[in-house]
Symmetry: C5
Subunit: 87 residues, 5 copies
Amino acid sequence: MHLAKVIAKVVATQKAEKLVGGKLLVIKSVDEYRNLMDHEPPYVALDCVGAGVGDCVLVDWGGSVDNDPRMVSDMSIVGIIDTIEFE
Amino acid sequence: MHLAKVIAKVVATQKAEKLVGGKLLVIKSVDEYRNLMDHEPPYVALDCVGAGVGDCVLVDWGGSVDNDPRMVSDMSIVGIIDTIEFE
Amino acid sequence: MHLAKVIAKVVATQKAEKLVGGKLLVIKSVDEYRNLMDHEPPYVALDCVGAGVGDCVLVDWGGSVDNDPRMVSDMSIVGIIDTIEFE
Amino acid sequence: MHLAKVIAKVVATQKAEKLVGGKLLVIKSVDEYRNLMDHEPPYVALDCVGAGVGDCVLVDWGGSVDNDPRMVSDMSIVGIIDTIEFE
Amino acid sequence: MHLAKVIAKVVATQKAEKLVGGKLLVIKSVDEYRNLMDHEPPYVALDCVGAGVGDCVLVDWGGSVDNDPRMVSDMSIVGIIDTIEFE
């Protein structure tokens, strides 16, 4: 999974049926201190956990066995990060 | 999903059977302000939503569960972007 | 899919059974004007359409639903590019 | 698989059901001498082998056939590295 | 598939059950002339063809249909390269 920050929402009227009703969020990768990695391109992920703009999130790129039926995209937001503990 | 802009069409007479009849579009990644990211290589995606040259689109790289039966390629255009809202 | 140019053939006597009899071609990514992107690493793809050295081709990296039974590798050449039309 | 070092733990109360109860670790790629590759972004992997902060680990990005039922994420820690032998 | 050179072996006592008994090799990408690409990170692949340190190999990253039952990892060595022919 990637660490990312939600920076915007996408509005797309014309889209694949499976995406209808889903919330599409623009994300950008962050480092372990939650700083945006500016040289990385933005991605669009489907929200599965109620995330919003400004949240620091966990993004799954697919490839797992026990897939969540809501994961109908190649990138899904699967968690909202509370804290990162360095011990 | 990636944010990209359609820049050209591909003509390929000799191709895998599954691609016959599909529209193959050359895309380049854009940033969240829809500016082309020139250092990124171009890709070719199969159109699933009626996109054309000049459109800003959502590109799915596969890996989802509930796949659209039209997604017979590793990269499919699954949405045309209307707006990106930063709130 | 990626845009690439076939630059060489691979000879490998010792290989996985599924690759026996297949044509293994070394490819390098090209930009939308078919210029080699020299900083990109070369890859090896299994030919599915009769491509040869010098051809500009479409390379599928897997991840589709309706897979071609000949696609037994993670990278398959699925088309030979005739032209790229910018409109 | 990637060579990586575990640098932190992630706490995420709000997450996909499949991740509940799993240990989420922040990892960073290392080179063959176990030095951190600072320009690489951090990732978050699900622990499958009892790894902890400071361990040098093997990370599987999915895509295998014989998947471990515990691999419910796109990145799973599948081994703890004892030594790397150069012969 | 990637062109790579085997540079070392990995010893990992604690690992996922599916990897037990498998040979884990550290690989680094090479260019078409078999020169190491030093800026690329090393990876660890499961050997499926009897490769050893020093061999130039073909590495499959998964994603194929007709998977070899020995490919239980996301990266498998599926061939040993004899020659690369530029014609």
